[in-house]
């Protein structure tokens, strides 16, 4: 399971990808992943919002995660 990072999320973590494959227990839902991220990177809580995309679609907290999913952390967007 890999997490893609963009914008300020990439700056907070200092990487553009986080590899979770070697973790003992992978998050099984978006909610669990968010909790894990909040614990590991307190600066995420300072952002205006934080969304998760699963297979390049916005995903609600109850979406179930599979180890082959493409998961991305979406900090507040600011296109245009």
């Amino acid at each position: 399971m890999e997490l893609l990072l963009f914008g300020i999320a990439k700056d907070i973590v200092g990487e553009s990808v986080i590899d979770l494959s070697d973790k003992d227990c992978l998050p099984t839902s978006v909610a669990e992943l968010k909790k894990l991220l909040a614990a590991a990177y307190p600066d995420f809580s300072k952002l205006s919002s934080l969304a998760i995309a699963v297979n390049s679609e916005y995903a609600d907290d109850d979406v179930v995660l599979d180890k082959d999913d493409e998961i991305a952390i979406i900090p507040p967007v600011s296109g245009g």
Partner: protein
Amino acid sequence: MEHIVVEIVDEIDTSQVFTDLSHAHSGGICIFVGTVREFTQNEEVVSLEFETYEKMALKEMNKIASDATAKWNLNKVVIRHAVGAKQVEEPVVIVGASSAHRDACFEACRYLIDTLKETVPIWKKEIFKNKTVWVSAHP
């Protein structure tokens, strides 16, 4: 939808959009271009830098364009966003719609840019003389 053009590009060619939107059944074309402003809250901007999660951005842009064609009677829709470094006055985004009558293309054009700014995973970093800021990142 053959009449939807959705793209992430390095440089926006503003002259292309009329060709993209031209249609024999259209009497009106409305276009919005977002450009780099020299000042943000009285601070001088040196340049902007855009990055995107391209695969997802294209999906979201396609959704917005499809939603617009469902809401209004449109003949063509364009959503094109640039990435990379952009200087003052350079275009960073261009959206537009063409329709038989002007109400539809005006309303659709506004919808395209407003929704793009809310949902499309593109991030803008403002580069000032002494600092850089990810726009909208913090409350």
